[in-house]
Symmetry: C2
């Protein structure tokens, strides 16, 4: 800006006024300065101006990392922000603990005027800027929130497997801090209970949504003597890793092992075979979060919690269990039941 001022023969203050369209500058001066700005291709430094003004016209989308799920949310949020007059800044803070608080503190207040947080886990208190959470942590939560009906979705997925004849159904859980992860496990357990199938604790595992961890857990499951005939994973990425491991073991999916995921990220339908999964409307969720954020900023009153419907999408990774395993497994199931302890 100093360069522009020097070239135009005015002070930086004057340039600043021109840039921000403030009153009190002679028409000729405005034109002169604008000419120089054009010619030099000057554009103000965002850090400096936002630091000074204590406000911006930028909204943030804060994620732990840019994976398929957050990318879908981003598309939806961007579409909703279109025409709002705000620019968008998406920030990935790295997966380390407390990224949400850290990102928000680093960007909030100056750089961004508000934020959409994706799967935050360590945040609840009042924040510096308006915030909307997508799929946040388990437990009491005062943040305006968008999420999907994970419980029902998980029930549907599990019922689908049960209706195909599966009894030994493993559950690859997500991150226990997330409300959605809890609900998916609860939905699984509920569907099993309703069908009168005892849940074998050895088949309920946690992956923290880390693909390598999912692979490891799946290997352990498939090496069991009474291996499961189906796996329900709490998200698509881990489900797809489970598919990879099945192939490692020489098992055909779905003939030898059925797999269901959760989310319906674009990659799910592109897998071979394409993944049966529970769809959450990610782009709509992103858009809803952005709309809610905009409302918050503009002081529009509204219901601060939106839960969206999920939908089972049956594709190529689920079918009846292999006959030899069904018959081989049934007796094993009967023994503990006979002890009267399992069939809750």
């Amino acid at each position: 800006m100093a360069d522009v001022a020097a070239r135009a023969g005015v002070s930086v203050a004057t340039v600043s006024k021109v840039v921000n369209g403030r009153y009190g500058v002679a028409k000729e001066t405005v034109e002169l300065v604008q000419g120089v700005i054009e010619e030099m291709g000057y554009a103000g430094n965002l850090s400096a101006s936002s630091l000074r003004m204590q406000q911006t016209n930028v909204l943030g989308i804060l994620v732990a990392s840019f994976e398929p799920f957050s990318a879908e949310l981003l598309k939806g949020a961007a579409a909703a922000a279109e025409g709002s007059g705000y620019e968008l800044l998406a920030h990935s803070g790295g997966d380390n603990h407390g990224w949400e608080r850290r990102s928000l503190a680093r960007l909030g207040g100056t750089l961004i005027a508000g934020a959409v947080l994706v799967t935050p886990t360590v945040l609840d208190a009042r924040t510096v800027v308006p915030v909307v959470a997508i799929d946040p942590h388990y437990g009491p939560n005062r943040l305006p929130t968008i999420d999907a009906d994970s419980f029902t979705g998980a029930e549907q997925a599990t019922e689908h497997l049960i209706s195909l004849g599966h009894r030994r159904i493993a559950f690859l859980g997500g991150r226990s801090e997330l409300d959605s992860a809890h609900l998916r496990e609860a939905g699984y357990r509920n569907a099993m209970a309703e069908a009168g199938i005892p849940v074998d604790q050895a088949l309920v595992r946690e992956t923290r949504y880390v693909p390598d961890r999912a692979a490891e857990v799946t290997r352990e499951l498939l090496m069991m003597k009474d291996r499961p005939t189906a796996i329900f994973a709490a998200n698509d990425i881990t489900a797809m890793r489970a598919m990879d491991v099945a192939h490692e073991f020489g098992l055909a999916v779905p003939e030898d092992l059925s797999i269901v995921g959760f989310d319906d990220v674009p990659e799910a339908s592109l897998a071979t075979p394409s993944l049966t999964t529970v769809r959450q409307p990610m782009q709509s969720m992103g858009a809803a979060a952005m709309t809610m954020l905009l409302d918050l900023i503009n002081g529009v009153e509204r219901e601060p919690h939106v839960r969206m419907a999920t939908e089972l999408v049956v594709r190529g990774t689920t079918t009846e269990p292999p006959v030899e395993l069904v018959t081989a497994v049934e007796p094993a199931l009967v023994v503990p039941a006979a002890r009267g302890a399992v069939d809750a």
Copy 2:
């Protein structure tokens, strides 16, 4: 930071030293300050620190808007940046002219240490920070660049339609400022020429990749008395809008009208029927760009231009042209040919 200093009973200078791990602070003071930081959940203001330091550990991905294409690039770039020690900031500057220069000026120098630019059109000169372009503008270009082989991809798409028996093939062009858009049109024209099919100029249209514009152009094409039997669109989004318009007109895709896109964004395979398209390896392109940027920053010498292969993906939107149109059109084609001018 002042709050932390006050609470710890030290100066802000000392807090700063602790935060940045500078030498020359008593061990006890360090621990005291760190305790307070922890307790207060303090995290430094990115604008302020980067403004002062004139450098950051953040890399930018600058796009006009977050649509499916840039979202895929983003996933790839994020994967490549993993473990590099850099955080990522994706910025959408709004679609207005000159967004690339503007975004770069506003973020560069202070906020970000380097940037990947997606489809920039008004940038060439030396920039403040290292920059890598993905799919940049037409004409001489000194920026390190990643792009896909649009020419060959467009040829393959057009040949595919020709081999199915299509002769009246429309081309929905992209943004003429982009090199890739030129190459796609050139590939189309080349394939037509090789097959000895004259290109009807009325069938070659521009959409600027604006969906609504694509819809409008498609309507015009479908209202022609000699309407095309196939449309090759320069990207998937416009191709999908063309599908919508075909349905408006009561035309079945592909029976009445074949359509081919370009990109293979996730949405393409999810369309009904799923879109035949030319795949560019978007995630790999994003990763390659990020790797190149990292090399640039670290002073690693390497070839500054990478062109990636494309691949025709035949799905559900292409088939033979309807019989009545083939026979109806042939004579029209013969007349100008008889004049000896067209069959170049």
